[in-house]
Symmetry: C2
Subunit: 266 residues, 2 copies
């Protein structure tokens, strides 16, 4: 844990998995960022995703950020989908959130620099993935990445079009106010329409996901097909029989890491 | 969940994993029993062991019993290692435990019959494994199995000699009273000395296990080497760098299932 400048001095937690490869060679290892969903912290994916086995075999570092700043000095809301544990990975501009809830800047700048400085990772080989709200986070962070930090992005059951979803409208209004132009900077479907990602995108979703209607996977698919810059490279699959849980994530997380390995070329 | 006669009418919980193989064929599938450790319930291994991936590939059913009866009508103790969540898989004879804490009979007879009756499993192909107190449970249940239910047994960091361990003496005294002959019916090392298991035993333990001194792995190894019926087939490995956690279990659980598959010959 560390004191975050981006998040108004909050104590921020994160987990890091380092593969055996780092002690077997003096090469820096590729890194995958895993962003978790609503109500999660930096430990849920550590305990439930099973990603470590694949990261061990492939020789990748995994970074698990928390889903928001936390603590008694950090604003919160009694509902599960706003405030602590529910940042939606935005840089909030409205009070009381704007002091601490600056998760995009935190992940892209502050934690990024901290990880590069303190761990033996290859800054040229970074990818990002996430689940649900964290899938939204991974997509929107990659799509806003004008420094070319992330070379590929994937998501499990991501919130794809929060501007038109109950998982999104409430939070964007709270954190960002009424400016729809600003909202569109945190909406993966809109971001693809406006420019897209200079790399490949992979999305897997369960057909029995009880939140399927909130995710708007088809909005992302439509946006990718009609992006202004030409078709966005998107591989989106709906899997029969799977729900929204970490059991779904753990079933497909190995295939995601293999896909990222292809994109990172190592 | 179900009402258990063996456990004095308590509501007992368990989890079952059924592999895709059961819908792909009309064959009954082999079954592995997974017993968890102190403080766990029927969900810990479901969420943390990662066993489902291997059971899916191999086509095995997995049964996860709870570690004790539970509820407001069931006796308990304020310490974490006695009472609810800490049955040590014994049939208690002392009050107040003896009415509900009859876990050996529950698992070997009652839950066994319930699983065979309600799920498409092959009763001739059953094996048992466990972690920590659940490793003790798996070993002692297999070693007391005079019906030939279990064809192989394995354990992660099992309590091997509870009669000479802080994890054991207190609980055996509470549940069983002072009769050391009775204690020895729940001590894997003693049970191997007195007869052994008609099959193979596999044990993996982490060299950095903070509870290593409580486990007495060497007692089990010594007993196997000097068993009255001749050497017990035991494969015991201490792994450098691993601790007592489910991360350790999840690392080796696949190799355990492959080993059980060999023994069950499917």
């Amino acid at each position: 844990m560390h004191n975050s400048v981006a998040c108004g001095g909050s104590i921020m937690h994160f987990s890091v998995y380092l593969p055996p490869a780092i002690v077997l060679s003096d090469h820096k290892v590729p890194v995958v960022w895993f962003l978790s969903g609503l109500t999660c912290n930096h430990e849920n994916a550590v305990l439930k995703s099973g990603i470590q086995r694949y990261a061990s075999e492939l020789g990748m570092c995994v970074v698990f950020p928390d889903t928001s700043p936390r603590g008694s000095d950090v604003p919160d809301d009694e509902s599960y989908d706003l405030g602590q544990g529910a940042s939606f990975y935005v840089d909030a501009v409205r009070s009381p959130w704007s002091k601490h809830f600056r998760m995009r800047t935190y992940i892209m700048d502050e934690l990024q620099a901290l990880i590069i400085k303190n761990f033996p990772v290859d800054r040229e080989r970074q990818c990002i993935m996430g689940h649900s709200m964290g899938g939204h986070g991974a997509l929107t962070i990659a799509l806003s990445d004008n420094k070319g930090i992330f070379r590929s992005v994937s998501a499990f059951a991501p919130i794809c079009n929060p501007m038109s979803s109950n998982w999104g409208r409430k939070q964007l209004a709270e954190y960002l106010g009424g400016n729809q132009i600003l909202w569109s900077k945190y909406d993966a479907s809109e971001m693809i329409r406006q420019g897209g990602f200079n790399g490949r995108i992979k999305v897997d979703t369960g057909a029995e996901d009880p939140y399927f209607d909130q995710l708007n996977i088809s909005s992302l698919e439509d946006a990718a097909a009609t992006s202004e810059k030409g078709a966005q490279d998107l591989e989106s699959v709906i899997h029969a029989g799977y729900d929204h849980s970490y059991f779904f994530v753990s079933t497909f997380v190995g295939s995601h890491l293999l896909w990222h390995k292809e994109n990172l070329q190592f």
